[in-house]
């Protein structure tokens, strides 16, 4: 009897979770483990020689100054992207849950950037930053836009942040809208009767009750911007002079252009650890703010 139930449960589990578990294992878990193993070998495509070399690759990572520079560049990029995209998303979500006209259309509109692939989006912003804005800048004498943003390290940094935030905001907005509409109306009404202003309601009730949404959104934006590659490739190509290479871009260059697979893979593991530590810490800390209504 008991055995039968177990088998039934197993079957049910496999039916629903099997496909995704299979995909997860094949495209994520196994490559990850194999990749981890590769960091201890000197394997590359040319020699196909997988002999064990211990921690040599990790020592090389420690010595690779450019990697740490670009990792720090990435962390700054993620910091600003997460803040800007989330603030933007919350603002849009609040506006679009306040009952203005054409809400649905606007929601769809803001979400659209997400449906555009990173590469296309990158080229779009590239022509905006390197053609349209300099043209307008020269015509009207705006000093800020007279040269392309993509040829200056600092400005190219902000170009990356702006383009990513613009894309992410629409996606996060959907989650925030769901979070905000889930806030019980009676509490808000009670607060109003007690004389709370709009800002107080937002800060003390809506945002507090939407903490689960915030946790999800911060986590998503964090991990997605840490792993940005396509946008980086099409928007700045790492330029000017390789100064805007995000960590993933740098790793790909290291492995495929410089043929240093072991080092590149070891850098990918370092990046993984950094992302995991930051993402888990923030979601642990933010979760503490969660309250029940």
């Amino acid at each position: 009897m008991k055995g039968k139930i177990i088998w039934k449960n197993t079957g049910l589990f496999l039916l629903f979770a099997g496909p995704s578990l299979f995909a997860f294992t094949v495209v994520f878990l196994i490559p990850f483990l194999v990749g981890f193993y590769l960091t201890f070998t000197k394997w590359d495509v040319i020699r196909n020689d997988g002999s064990f070399v211990g921690f040599v690759n990790y020592v090389a990572v420690m010595r690779d100054k450019a990697f740490w520079t670009q990792l720090w560049f990435t962390i700054r990029y993620v910091f600003f992207t997460v803040i800007i995209s989330n603030v933007l998303a919350i603002a849009i979500a609040l506006a679009l849950t306040s009952g203005i006209k054409g809400e649905r259309w606007l929601r769809a509109g803001y979400f659209t950037p997400n449906l555009i692939g990173g590469i296309v989006l990158g080229y779009l912003w590239q022509s905006l930053f390197s053609r349209v804005l300099p043209y307008l800048g020269q015509k009207y004498g705006w000093a800020l836009f007279q040269t392309s943003w993509l040829t200056n390290t600092d400005k190219a940094f902000w170009a990356l942040v702006i383009a990513t935030s613009w894309q992410l905001a629409g996606y996060l907005m959907i989650i925030y809208i769901a979070g905000f509409t889930g806030v019980p109306k009676d509490i808000v009404e009670a607060a109003k009767i007690d004389g709370a202003g709009n800002f107080a309601i937002l800060r003390k009730i809506v945002l507090r009750l939407a903490v689960p949404a915030i946790v999800v959104c911060v986590f998503l934006s964090l991990s997605r911007s840490f792993l940005t590659y396509d946008l980086n490739l099409s928007l700045t190509k790492g330029g000017p002079f390789n100064s805007t290479e995000l960590a993933t871009f740098y790793i790909v260059q290291m492995a495929f252009q410089s043929n240093q697979y072991g080092v590149g893979q070891a850098e990918a593991i370092v990046l993984f650890v950094v992302v995991a530590v930051i993402a888990l810490t923030q979601s642990y800390l933010l979760k503490k703010l969660e309250v029940e209504s």
Binding site: F13, F22, V26, T147, L150, T151, F241, N242, Q257
Partner: protein, 461 residues
């Protein structure tokens, strides 16, 4: 009790799944091994892979890094299939300027390499153990091609790649714009020294009212074509001497900063920089726009090569006549490089020898010969792709005006052999190009530039 049971179920599932996967991966692992065995077995082409379809149908794959002409190749493949119904050629396309070599590497690593690869010589050199030695057809191609072309396909002493296109580059000029600025005809042979070039640029700038030289601020143009290829190739007319100098630089025995060629090259670069049309924002590097401004005569000069034709050939309202000047690196008109333009065979067709069967290799060689010698093939390459074929009796004429101008130097033998770059590591243009970009933008001075570039070369194994 209950949670533990659920956990057990989960564990069972995981074990089942992992077992299944282990089975899969075990199988593919075996395949890779057998391929690896074939590779180490040497260049005899032992048939290690499974005998392909019992019929006569042969499918070969064609990996293409000349991405801008993907469609022309596909049309050619279809035509060949009509002539030879037994052979199907399938294109493995790559994106323009995107992840090209990554695709090749993943193919190779998964034991599924393309039968024919259209690659840069330097990539063929890196993967030289994977390609078929074309010794048996070498004599045939020596017959078919212009002198020097087969040498371009010899890497590490072996004929590994069949040359099919030739390219040259230098300081291109727009004839109409230049002659209008000068108010009379222009004779390119008068520019053989740096001072003569400076004088010319000065005159043209005064007449046109804008700096007349277009410098494309991309790492490949600055790092590979300007600094790397010219710098190392102009050391001597003998390529082996150039290789030796390069070895010395890598070992730290020779310093770029003390080298007259590199210093001369950068002295000239300083002048070009001074007259740079994109002075205000030198790193925009928009290939279409730069080509357009040159083709329409807004900028009279452009440091670029005949491949530019792919962009400007079909442009509306462009000028029709273009010429090319050498980049003078000194004030002695007889110095090597002051009267020559760089010329090379930038892409080669190589045939796989790591997984392809002898039948596939044979079919690949036959197909390549058809493409390079038949009228359809030659027409497609010269007319549709706008490329120059280093072959005798080409049955079609190219419309490429820049290639024609470079051809005049080729006929006189006034070319620079940049073969030394075939031995450079594949990331050199990105790394040294970044330093050149800094120099172009004024972020570093010449000492720092030499320091960075020297440090890069010394870090290369």
């Amino acid at each position: 009790m209950k949670p533990r049971k659920r956990f057990a179920v989960l564990a069972v599932c995981l074990v089942l799944l992992l077992g299944l996967l282990a089975g899969c991966s075990g199988k593919s692992g075996g395949n890779t091994d057998s391929n690896a065995g074939g590779t180490s077995g040497g260049g005899t082409g032992t048939p290690t892979s499974t005998p392909s379809a019992s019929g006569k149908q042969i499918k070969i794959t064609f990996f293409n890094t000349s991405a801008e002409v993907n469609e022309v190749f596909e049309k050619l493949f279809a035509k060949y299939h009509e002539v030879n119904p037994n052979v199907t050629v399938e294109l493995i396309p790559t994106p323009i300027g995107g992840a090209q070599i990554e695709i090749f590497q993943s193919r190779l690593a998964s034991g599924n390499p393309p039968t024919i690869s259209n690659l840069d010589p330097s990539h063929i050199y890196v993967y030289r153990d994977k390609f078929l030695d074309l010794e048996p057809v070498k004599a045939k191609y020596e017959e078919l091609t212009l002198p020097g072309a087969v040498e371009g396909g010899i890497l590490d002493g072996k004929f590994l790649g069949i040359p099919w296109t030739a390219q040259g580059y230098g300081l291109l000029y727009n004839k109409r714009a230049l002659e209008e600025a000068l108010g009379g005809p222009f004779d390119p042979s008068t520019i053989r020294t740096r001072d003569a070039l400076k004088e010319l640029l000065d005159k043209v700038q005064a007449a046109m009212g804008v700096p007349p030289v277009m410098i494309h601020g991309a790492d490949w143009s600055l790092g590979a074509h300007y600094l790397g290829a010219l710098g190392f190739s102009l050391q001597s007319r003998d390529m082996n001497e150039n290789l030796k100098y390069w070895e010395d630089v890598k070992a730290g025995r020779a310093k770029l900063a003390d080298n007259p060629v590199f210093n001369g090259l950068l002295d000239t670069f300083d002048i070009l920089k001074e007259y740079n049309y994109r002075k205000n924002d030198p790193l925009v590097a928009n290939y279409e726009l730069d080509g357009q401004d040159f083709a329409k005569g807004n900028a009279a000069f452009y440091f670029m090569g005949d491949w530019l034709w792919a962009v400007i050939g079909s442009m509306e309202g462009r000028d029709s006549e273009f010429g090319v000047l050498p980049v003078p690196i000194s004030n002695n008109p007889d110095d090597y490089g002051n009267g020559q333009v760089a010329f090379s065979h930038p892409k080669l067709f190589a045939v796989d020898n790591s997984a392809a069967t002898p039948e596939e290799q044979q079919a690949a060689l036959e197909f390549l010969e058809w493409m390079l010698t038949s009228e359809e093939g030659q027409k497609a390459i010269t007319e549709e792709m706008g490329l120059t074929m280093p072959y005798k009796n080409v049955k079609a004429t190219s419309s490429n005006a820049i290639a024609k101008a470079i051809g005049e130097y080729v006929e006189k033998g006034e070319t620079i052999n940049i073969g030394v770059i075939n031995y450079f590591p594949t990331d050199y243009w990105a790394k040294t190009g970044a330093s050149m970009q800094k120099y172009l933008a004024g972020a570093i001075n010449r000492d720092q530039l030499f320091q960075e570039v020297q440090a890069y070369w010394e870090s290369v194994e």
